[in-house]
Structure formats: structure tokens, C-alpha cells
């Protein structure tokens, strides 16, 4: 068993570091065409789920590509496991899920994972074992002999996740991981990300879906027009310090009035007192689970109870 000091030291280890990392796309004549990323300084530590958040064109994917060595920085540097991002050997410890699963459509699931396993120089038995486990994990066992061109988007995404994990990576980079997934797939993806963290993996994900980032990320960097706007822990960034939130269950209308009076007495400004709303994602998942648990039962027409 590693000592507590060793664990702490490991958690403090910087897995990814960027220093003044910037990217400018140029035209054929070398003239600046688009500044995709302005100088960026980041440190991502082992075991974190780090989110790159921003609207389309904000530089999230550019940052990921720079970290992967798919494109080269205009200035600054990106270090992954202490090595330059263009160093191929770092990829031994990395898994990458692109925004869309860019895989070879003429292969089936088994062949796909076997192919990517070979790229990690894995011996045949290990490849087979790993591929079987991952196919099982992403729920493609029944479809593993079908060519990927026959897969739905969700299935393609799942085999994409499997290929990203074929080498049991220490660092997983996910570009818009929930893009194109239905609510169940989204939830499974988020569960998977949290599970990866539990297994000690470091995850960097980019997304423009705020709820996804909020649900799973420990820290986030908010990018806009290629510039870092915010960086910190999610709970710190989202905490509204001048607002007090009280959540209670089973209070009567009279109790609501008493609370209002109490707020007035203390000079507080009442913002809202009432029944909170659940999220549409939670509502959808509950309906689906309910339907699966009791097939044939009619859908409810009114709202659901508090969660």
C-alpha cells in the first residue's frame, strides 16, 4: 500500500502543463489568418477531471489538439507527463476521444479494437482480453461483428470510447464527449468519466454543454475567442456568495410566510420561495427507468414528485 505521503505526492503531480501556449493559423504565405488560442497557462494534476468550457470557436478543441501534438504551437509549449506534446512516446499513456468518432467504418468493433491495440504494441492475448472487456463495458457485445458503417451515432460514440480506453490510459482527453448522445448516453458518459476519476485517471474534457461540465468536472477553464477567461474549481466559480439558499421538504404555506417574515426582519431580499424545478435530464431518465422497470405502464401526464 502506498503511504499517505506518496498518495498526496501523486495527486500533486502535474500531468499536463502549458506555458504561454498559443496557436495562430496562417495562410499559404505565412500571413496570420486566425488566432485560435491566445497565450494559455494551465496546470492539470493527476486525478482531476478538468473541463474546457466555451462556445464554438473558443479554442477548446485547439487546446486539446495542441496537447495531443496533432497541431504545433505558434509559441509557448505544451508538456504532457513532462514531455513535449509532439513526443510520440507520451501517447502510450493517453487515450483520446475526438469530437466525432473518426474511425475506420469498414472494420467491425472487434477489428477496430484489435487494430488500435496493435498500435499500442499489445500482444494478442492482451488485445483480445482488453477488447472483449471494453466491448462488454460499452454495451456492444451483440453488435461487435457489425461494420461500424452500420452503427448509429450513439454506438459509434461508444466504440470511440472503447478505442480511447484500449490502453488503460492514465490521461483521457475527451472532445465534446456527450455530443450527439441521447440523455441516457449522456448520463452513461458522465458516469464513465466519474468512474475514470475513481480509478485514478486524469480526464480533460471539452464541452459547450454547461450542465455536463458542471456535473462532472472538478476544475474548469472557460475560454472565449481563444482566450482564457476563468479558471478554477467548479464549486468555487459557481458559488454565489451574496445569496443564501435554503432547501427544505414538507413545509406548509404558513411556514413559507414565516420564512418571508424572517427574511424581512433580517433585511434580506426575497428572491424565490416555492417548489424547485428538477432538470429535464432527470425527468427523462426517471421516465425511462420507470418504463423499463414496469413495461406497459402508462406515462404520467403530470409532473413528478420531488427528487
Amino acid at each position: 500500500m502506498p503511504s499517505q505521503n506518496a498518495v498526496n505526492r501523486s495527486e500533486r503531480e502535474i500531468v499536463v502543463e502549458t506555458r504561454n501556449l498559443s496557436k495562430t493559423y496562417r495562410d499559404f504565405w505565412g500571413r496570420s489568418k486566425k488566432v485560435a488560442l491566445k497565450p494559455l497557462d494551465l496546470e492539470i494534476r493527476r486525478g482531476e477531471i478538468f473541463g474546457l468550457l466555451g462556445p464554438n470557436g473558443s479554442g477548446k478543441t485547439t487546446t486539446l489538439k495542441l496537447l495531443l501534438g496533432l497541431i504545433f504551437p505558434t509559441s509557448g509549449e505544451a508538456l504532457v507527463f513532462g514531455r513535449d506534446a509532439t513526443d510520440v512516446s507520451k501517447n502510450e499513456r493517453i487515450g483520446y476521444l475526438p469530437e466525432e468518432s473518426y474511425l475506420y467504418k469498414f472494420l467491425d468493433a472487434e477489428e477496430t479494437l484489435d487494430f488500435y491495440g496493435r498500435l499500442f504494441d499489445m500482444p494478442p492475448e492482451q488485445r483480445k482480453q482488453r477488447a472483449d472487456a471494453l466491448i462488454e463495458m460499452v454495451g456492444l457485445s451483440r453488435d461487435k461483428k457489425r461494420q461500424l458503417k452500420e452503427y448509429s451515432k450513439g454506438m459509434t460514440r461508444r466504440i470511440g470510447v472503447a478505442q480511447a480506453l484500449i490502453n488503460d490510459p492514465e490521461l483521457v482527453l475527451l472532445d465534446e464527449p456527450t455530443s450527439g448522445l441521447d440523455p441516457i448516453g449522456t448520463r452513461e458518459m458522465k458516469d464513465l468519466i466519474i468512474d475514470l476519476k475513481k480509478r485514478g485517471k486524469t480526464v480533460i474534457m471539452s464541452s459547450h454543454l454547461l450542465a455536463d461540465v458542471e456535473d462532472v468536472c472538478d476544475r474548469i477553464a472557460v475560454l472565449h475567442l481563444g482566450e482564457l477567461k476563468e479558471l478554477g474549481r467548479v464549486e468555487d466559480l459557481l458559488r454565489v456568495t451574496d445569496v443564501t439558499q435554503i432547501r427544505a421538504k414538507g413545509l406548509s404555506t404558513n411556514a413559507h410566510e414565516e420564512i418571508r417574515a424572517l427574511l424581512k426582519r433580517h433585511g434580506g431580499e426575497e428572491i424565490e420561495i416555492g417548489n424547485p424545478r428538477t432538470t429535464l435530464e432527470d425527468l427523462f431518465l426517471e421516465v425511462v427507468r420507470d418504463t423499463q422497470a414496469r413495461p406497459g405502464r402508462r406515462a404520467r401526464t403530470s409532473g413528478i414528485s420531488d427528487t
Binding site: D87, V88, I94, S101, L119, F120, D121, G160, Q163
Partner: protein
């Protein structure tokens, strides 16, 4: 067959060639690094540029050392699977169609149908195989980059060299399988197409008698098959042979069956299979020199005005002669005498009897003592290989007119060397010969094996086309890479011409290649000016010639840098019935390997320097 240059022995040049290759490779590497530094300097300044180039070189070397066979094989397998997905096997159907309908446009009555069929099949095979692998190789990588599948590969611990090599190997495997299948079908097609027999009955033959009325044999003509028939001579012992028609002849055997029902012997004639059609002659070649019409040594023969100066001519009815010196002869190698085969071209200054060849003579001579045999007479015909066996026992006539018997090896061959003297006997007619035209038939190789060796030549071409296609596709889009590769192939086809044209342009020696470069040629076409006329000096002409030089310079560079696929082809040997020399194949193999290495390195470097996700 034409052999413009001697084939050097492999062992004689491989050592210096490898050293030169390493030196040239190192020089190019230094030049590339210098150019990279200059480009980077313009963007990032000299110090940062130096650091980038250093790190790039170091990273490249580390990548090369870290290549894995398993990854290369994985990428090769992927390339094969991709090819199959693209229905590459359809090309086999196209080839089958070509073979099925070949009979429509191949003339079985041609001068040498074996050569025609072989040339056609080898050309079709080469074209289809190279075209298929070219298309596969140039579009694969750009498609992966455009479809972004490359991103899931390059984010694995894959070296760019592995991606390039994997594709080269994968598509080469596809090309190899196609070549093997087409080669096999082609071989069967050729053998089946040229295989034929003839018939001859007793009534087709007439008895030949001498002045005393004694039979000396029979002569006649065979049946007409495959568009030709042969004249037959049968000796009194019942064996005979036909004349050579369409590049082949047959043996004839008289078969007598026993007495049946009181009747006399029944006689039938068996005509053997065609000889000389699908052969693999192993020639022993000599060196050629000339003697002019006065009997004096001459560096060259006579030019009869042919633009192609491969063959030199000797004048008939004079002392002019072509003399070959053969070496390395032993009694053990040629116990029956010297099997001489001759390709003699005829240039007639008057038509004469066109069906009859031009008379000539061949003598063998001791290169040391000058003792020579009496002449052997023959008639030279166009497009045929004449054969003549110089027997062990020869006659020689001395100056006083006395004739005596001499032994070939005891009296004529000196230190393993012998001279063969060719003369044309008819005045005002000429024989045209080249060094490769006279040879001693040292043995026969297997035709099937020779055909396989020829397919090996196609394989070399296919490898180079594939590697070039992959190399260009690392930095060009698919269609542009296709055009670039085709341009290089075309450039290679005209390599010798471009080299000579550039030399002519730079030195101003119009005798090397008359007519000038592309601009001057266009000017001459438009103004209908002959290429043999010098243009009057003017500013326009000077500008035209200067522009031509600038246009030809990159072509000259390209012609020098890239391989010429035309030189890798060995179809002429097989079609001509000659064994492909191992030295030649070894040279082609080394040339192919050398270029493959270069294409692989350039492709890896370009892909490494490229942002695959930009």
C-alpha cells in the same frame, strides 16, 4: 533484342554505388536541414530555428529507432482491408476481359506472335497493377486526413514512419497478389495462344534426287495453321525440320508402322512442338569492332542515315567487316562447337529479290595467330534470328589454295578467345549490326522462370509507384498527388531525352538534340522551321532559349532525382526470348530499394512536419 549498354557485373559496382548512395543521401539531408533552418529562421529567428531543426532531427531519429513491426503490420493490414473495401479485385475482372478479347486485336499471323502476345500481356499487367496501386496509394492518406481517422492513429504511439511504411507495405501486398494472379493468367494465355502444331501427309512431300537419281531426302509444306505454314526438309534417315516462320520452327519425324493386311508400311510424319517461340536463351556476348571497306580498323561502321545510331552498317562486296571477340570459351562449355546466333539487319540500296535474304559470310579467327576458317555462308533476313553452329572440325584454305582440316579449340580458340568475322557479300547492300546482335548460345533457361523474372521487374515498378504515391500523399491532396506521381513516371519515361536535351540547351550543341526546348520547339512548329536549321540570332531567340533553359532546369533535376520505370522493365528480354541476366535483376533490385528508402524517409519527414488536424 536491343541492348544499348552492357550490363555490368553486380559485384563490380555495388560497393562504390553504396558509398555514393550514402554520400548523396547525407548531402541531401544536410541540404534539407539547411533549407528547413532558413524557413524557420524567417518565422522564428535564427536561434529558435536552430533549436527547432535540432529537435526535429533528433525526434526523427528517435522515431525511426522506435518503430515497431507489430504497428507496421497493423497499418499494412488496414491498408489491405481498405483496398478490399474499395473493390480493388474488380481490376481482375478487367484483366480477364482484356485477355478474353485479346484475340480480337492481336494478330496471330504477325512476324513473331510469341513476342506480340508476351509484350501485350506484360504491358497490360504492368499498367493495371501499377495503376491500381497508384490510385490506392495517393488517395488513402489524404482520405484519412480529410476524414480525420488519422487523428485516432497519430494519437496512439505511432511513428509517422510506421504510417508511411505500413501503407507502402499494405498496398504493395495488394499489388503483389494482383500481379501474381494476372501473371499466372497471362502466362497461361500466352502459352495457350502460341502453342500449335501442323500436319503433313506423304502426298505433301516430294522426293529429292541427285544427278545420279539417288534420293537425298524429301521436301514439302506443312498444313496451314495459325495463319502460317512451314517448308519441310526431311533427310533420308527420316528426321527433318521446318524452316523458321514467325520466329519458330518444328522438328519432323518419320514414323513407319508395320505391315497390315498385306499392305506396305504405313508412313506418317510427326511434327514436334514449336521451337524458338517461348525460350530463354542464355547468350555469351562479345565485343564488337569494325573494319572499313579498305580493310582498315574503324571505330564505327557506316551510317545509312537512320536517326537511331544503335546499329552500325558494313558495306557489302568489300573488305568491310564486323568482328566480335568472344572470351571465356572452353572445350567443356561447347563440346559440340560454337552455337552462334545472329541478328542481322539489312539495308538495301536496291530492292533485288525481296523474298530472298542478302548473302553474307561468317568466319572464325584465332585472335593471336590470325588463322581463320573458311567462310560459312548464309542469307540474312529482317526480323529473324539466324543460327549457325560452328563445328569442332573446320576447313581452312591457305594462300596457296591448299585446304586442310583444323580443330576449333586446338587451332582457333586462343586463351579462351575467338573472333567471329561477319561480311556482307552483295555489292551495294549493307548489313546493320550492334554488339548484342551476335552471341554464342551458352545455354537455355526455363521460360516459366524467365517469365517470373519479368514479373519481378513489374513488381519493382509497382513498389516504386506505390512508394511514390504514398510519399506525395503525405503533403499533397489525393488528386494532386496522383498528378505528381504520374508526372514523375512520365518524366522517367523520357529521362534520357531530357538529360540530353538539357545538355544540348546548356552547351548550345544542337547536334545532341536538335530543335531546342519547349518554347523553341513551339516556335518552330508555328513558323514551320526545320529542327536542323539554326535560328537567326535575335533578342527574341535569345529570350526564348533563356526561358527554355529555365523550364528545362527543374525537368532536368526531376529526371535526375526520380527513377525511370522504363528501365526497370525486362519484358523485352522475355518477349525476345532471352534469359534475364541476374546481374540486371540485382541492379534493378538495388535501384528499387534505394529509391524506396528515399521515398520512405521523405514521406515520413513530410508527414511528421505536417499538422494532420489543422
Amino acid at each position: 533484342m536491343v541492348l544499348e549498354e552492357e550490363i555490368p557485373r553486380f559485384a563490380a559496382w555495388i560497393g562504390p554505388a553504396l558509398l555514393w548512395y550514402l554520400f548523396a543521401g547525407s548531402l541531401v539531408a544536410v541540404l534539407v536541414a539547411a533549407v528547413a533552418w532558413l524557413v524557420q529562421s524567417a518565422l522564428y529567428g535564427p536561434l529558435a530555428a536552430g533549436d527547432r531543426v535540432y529537435r526535429g532531427v533528433l525526434s526523427g531519429l528517435v522515431d525511426l529507432s522506435g518503430m515497431s513491426l507489430r504497428r507496421i503490420w497493423a497499418l499494412s493490414r488496414l491498408a489491405v482491408q481498405e483496398s478490399l473495401r474499395r473493390n480493388v479485385l474488380v481490376v481482375l475482372g478487367i484483366f480477364a476481359l482484356i485477355v478474353l478479347f485479346a484475340g480480337w486485336f492481336l494478330d496471330p499471323t504477325s512476324v513473331n506472335p510469341g513476342k506480340l502476345y508476351l509484350g501485350f500481356i506484360l504491358a497490360a499487367t504492368s499498367l493495371l497493377v501499377c495503376l491500381v496501386t497508384l490510385v490506392l496509394s495517393v488517395f488513402s492518406l489524404p482520405a484519412d486526413i480529410r476524414g480525420k481517422a488519422i487523428q485516432t492513429v497519430t494519437t496512439k504511439p505511432v511513428r509517422t514512419g510506421e504510417i508511411v511504411l505500413g501503407r507502402i507495405i499494405g498496398f504493395s501486398i495488394v499489388g503483389t497478389v494482383l500481379l501474381a494472379l494476372m501473371g499466372g493468367v497471362g502466362w497461361a494465355f500466352v502459352v495457350r495462344s502460341v502453342r500449335h502444331g501442323h500436319e503433313i501427309a506423304a502426298e505433301d512431300l516430294v522426293e529429292i534426287r541427285n544427278d545420279d537419281g539417288v534420293s537425298t531426302g524429301q521436301e514439302g509444306r506443312t498444313s496451314l495453321d495459325r495463319g502460317h505454314r512451314h517448308r519441310v526438309d526431311i533427310a533420308t534417315n527420316g528426321t527433318g525440320r521446318t524452316d523458321t516462320v514467325q520466329g519458330h520452327r518444328h522438328t519432323v519425324l518419320t514414323v513407319k508402322s508395320g505391315v497390315q493386311n498385306g499392305s506396305s508400311d504405313q508412313v506418317t510424319y510427326e511434327i514436334g512442338p514449336a521451337e524458338g517461340l517461348l525460350e530463354a536463351r542464355k547468350p555469351l556476348r562479345g565485343t564488337l569492332r569494325f573494319v572499313d571497306r579498305e580493310g582498315r580498323p574503324s571505330a564505327k561502321g557506316i551510317s545509312v542515315g537512320a536517326e537511331w545510331s544503335y546499329r552500325q552498317y558494313i558495306e557489302g562486296g568489300s573488305l568491310a567487316a564486323a568482328i566480335w571477340t568472344f572470351g571465356g570459351l572452353t572445350e567443356q562449355s561447347f563440346p559440340e562447337g560454337l552455337p552462334l546466333e545472329m541478328i542481322v539487319r539489312v539495308f538495301r540500296t536496291y530492292k533485288g529479290e525481296i523474298e530472298r535474304g542478302i548473302a553474307g559470310s561468317v568466319r572464325v579467327r584465332n585472335p593471336s595467330s590470325g588463322l581463320q576458317s573458311d567462310p560459312f555462308y548464309f542469307q540474312a533476313k529482317e526480323y529473324t534470328i539466324d543460327s549457325l553452329t560452328i563445328p569442332r572440325t573446320l576447313a581452312t584454305t591457305s594462300a596457296d589454295g591448299g585446304t586442310r582440316q583444323i580443330d576449333l579449340f586446338a587451332d582457333i580458340v586462343s586463351n579462351g578467345r575467338v573472333e567471329v568475322v561477319l561480311q556482307c557479300l552483295e555489292s551495294a547492300q549493307y548489313y546493320g549490326v550492334a554488339q548484342a546482335d551476335f552471341y554464342l548460345r551458352a545455354g537455355n533457361g526455363s521460360f516459366a522462370f524467365n517469365y517470373a523474372k519479368s514479373c519481378l521487374g513489374i513488381w519493382f515498378s509497382m513498389l516504386l509507384v506505390t512508394a511514390m504515391g504514398v510519399m506525395f500523399s503525405t503533403f499533397l491532396s489525393g488528386p494532386v498527388a496522383l498528378l505528381a506521381t504520374l508526372s514523375v513516371v512520365l518524366l522517367g519515361q523520357f529521362r534520357e531525352f531530357i538529360l540530353r536535351l538539357f545538355e544540348s540547351q546548356v552547351t548550345g550543341d544542337t547536334s545532341i538534340v536538335p530543335g531546342g526546348g519547349p518554347i523553341e520547339s513551339l516556335y518552330r512548329i508555328v513558323t514551320q522551321t526545320s529542327i536542323t536549321l539554326d535560328l537567326d540570332p535575335s533578342t527574341t531567340v535569345t529570350a526564348m532559349k533563356t526561358l527554355d533553359t529555365f523550364l528545362l532546369a527543374p525537368m532536368r533535376l526531376g529526371a535526375a532525382l526520380f527513377p525511370s520505370l522504363a528501365t526497370l522493365g525486362t519484358g523485352d528480354f522475355v518477349a525476345g526470348g532471352f534469359d534475364i541476366p541476374v546481374d540486371l535483376l540485382a541492379a534493378h533490385a538495388m535501384e528499387t530499394f534505394g529509391y524506396l528508402m528515399a521515398f520512405f524517409l521523405v514521406g515520413s519527414l513530410c508527414l511528421k512536419a505536417r499538422e494532420v488536424a489543422s
